[in-house]
């Protein structure tokens, strides 16, 4: 039996939850609005809107170079974390061997070490081997961050695949590689895509490791924006941030489209 008091309480609870959700979205709405400001100061535009800060951002060599670096780092780190994550997921999901539990625990470890600690440990290492300020070092650090996520995604995808399917392919004369390529790979491809997208998104927005491992000549966008965020309070940061959110949303959108086409394809 619900009393009127309980119904009232439930309503208040729901209203509060909706408010919290809106509060989660508020910073974004505010930042997008701010990015169209015409002036130097941080005042959300009310009557005059302008694309001035977008032009400034896209017209300067410093920012476009940072954008290119960000894209390169994200691409390399997505590939590396896919190779690593898929390999471990296959080993753990398909084989029983000594050290299996230890291996799946070790892959998750990077999630529990703060980024500043990892960055400070990597700094002397990459300086020592002459990789400091290279795309490769930042990408390797980023793939370490997305490795646990990609691994968890692909492990659950592989566990959902019926092992008899691959056995049937083997029974029909396919080698292990062919059976994997023709049967298992198509079945887990949506998870692979999802993992790649997450790896790209994490890398594009990662700031701490990029700050430690980037050099003055090679910076990803978040690291290059940092002085801007600290000292100069112009709407440029809002414009740059909106562009990076746009990149994130577009890549997520493309992934969602591809996945849906995939499902239609399968059901057809």
């Amino acid at each position: 039996m619900t009393t009127p008091l309980e119904r009232g309480l439930a309503f208040v609870g729901r209203a509060a939850a909706v408010l919290v959700l809106l509060a989660m979205l508020a910073p974004f709405v505010y930042a997008v609005w701010m990015s169209f400001a015409p002036g130097e100061i941080l005042e959300p535009p009310t009557d005059r809107w302008s694309l001035r800060w977008y032009r400034e951002f896209l017209g300067s060599a410093r920012w476009t170079a940072a954008l290119r670096t960000t894209a390169e780092v994200a691409a390399v780190s997505a590939v590396v974390s896919l190779l690593g994550g898929l390999g471990v997921a296959l080993a753990v999901a398909r084989y029983h061997f000594r050290g299996r539990a230890m291996l799946s625990a070790a892959v998750l470890l990077p999630m529990f070490v703060p980024a500043v600690v990892l960055g400070m440990g990597l700094l002397p290492l990459v300086r020592g081997v002459g990789l400091w300020g290279t795309t490769l070092s930042i990408a390797a650090a980023h793939s370490l961050v997305s490795l646990p996520v990609v691994f968890l995604l692909l492990r659950s995808a592989l566990e959902a695949v019926d092992p008899d399917l691959e056995r049937a392919a083997r029974g029909l004369g396919a080698g292990p590689m062919t059976a994997f390529r023709r049967v298992t790979l198509p079945l887990i491809s949506p998870s692979i895509l999802a993992g790649m997208v997450i790896a790209v998104v994490l890398s594009v927005n990662e700031f701490t490791l990029a700050l430690f491992l980037g050099s003055p000549r090679l910076r990803t966008l978040p690291a290059a924006l940092w002085p801007e965020a600290r000292d100069k309070e112009t709407p440029l940061l809002a414009a740059a941030s909106c562009l990076s959110v746009l990149v994130t949303l577009v890549s997520l959108g493309i992934a969602a489209r591809v996945l849906r086409r995939d499902e239609v394809h399968k059901s057809a």
């Binding site: 619900t2 009393t3 439930a10 609870g13 729901r14 509060a16 959700l21 989660m24 508020a26 910073p27 974004f28 505010y30 930042a31 941080l42 590396v80 690593g84 390999g87 471990v88 296959l90 753990v92 398909r94 084989y95 299996r100 291996l103 070790a106 892959v107 470890l109 990077p110 529990f112 070490v113 703060p114 500043v116 600690v117 990892l118 960055g119 400070m120 440990g121 700094l123 002397p124 290492l125 390797a140 793939s143 370490l144 490795l147 092992p163 998104v201 594009v204 927005n205 700031f207 701490t208 700050l211 430690f212 940092w226 600290r230 940061l237 809002a238 941030s241 990076s244 994130t248 997520l252």
Partner: protein, 291 residues
Amino acid sequence: MTPRPFRPIVPWLLAAPAVVLLLGFFLGPVLLLFRVSVYESGSGTGFYRPGTWSLQAYAGLIEDGYGRGVLAFTVFLGVAVATLSVLVGYPLALFIHTLRPLAKRLALAAVILPKLANVFVVLYGVSLLLGNSGPLNQGLLWLGLTREPILLSHSLAGVLIAETYLIMPYAVLILVPAFDRIDPILLAAARGLGAGSWTTFRRVTLPLSLPGVAVAGQLCLIWALGAFVGPLLLGGPEQTTLAVLVPRYGLEYGDWPTAAVTSVLSLLTIAVCVTAFAWPARRLGRLGQTR
């Protein structure tokens, strides 16, 4: 499934890329941190004096009151943010759990968005909202609750709110599946036995969700203890955490031993706090099963 015969080398070959990455870029750097932390600080040109062994950097950080104060604030902030994240995330996750599929997906997307976007956008938006001319202060002024704007950014309140924005999504992502796992038949049974919605929540939903709360609290604590960007952007000098000191010593002052000591302390803090939380977390998880 039945394991098929294979040569034991096969799984390790598959795992090789990840193992190489973990050894070279994770285990290596962490071990290197411990080594760098016992060098003598370099003077002038070098980041440290090669070939030296000393505890000078440890002594320098722990003996002066500043380092101890930063350590205390780090623990305080970690516990406060983890608590806030679970307290706000719990009712929010319960609400999201009751939504229909489409609305649920949208709500989860709204929660995850801060984790998928550039951290500056989130915190920048937060600081604008909290600023003197921001809507929060203006609203308080308009309501006549304060005479002048309360300084919310560059204060403890700003850092707490900012870090909760960054950590709470994890709590929600862990708690929503925890609620989804509760068998709806149990709720119907409680209803059928005459329990109201409050009693049903108190006697069925709450106890069964406690293991999820324990996991969420544990993980939020780990991430909140490494709080870096929030204190950096929205904190004043009073709100310095260990994580903020690491790049300050390592990148600005070029004093690698002290930066490494700070990192080691940060790792130790996480290990100690997580161990301390493990026992109450287990109790919390068991509470749910004994009802």
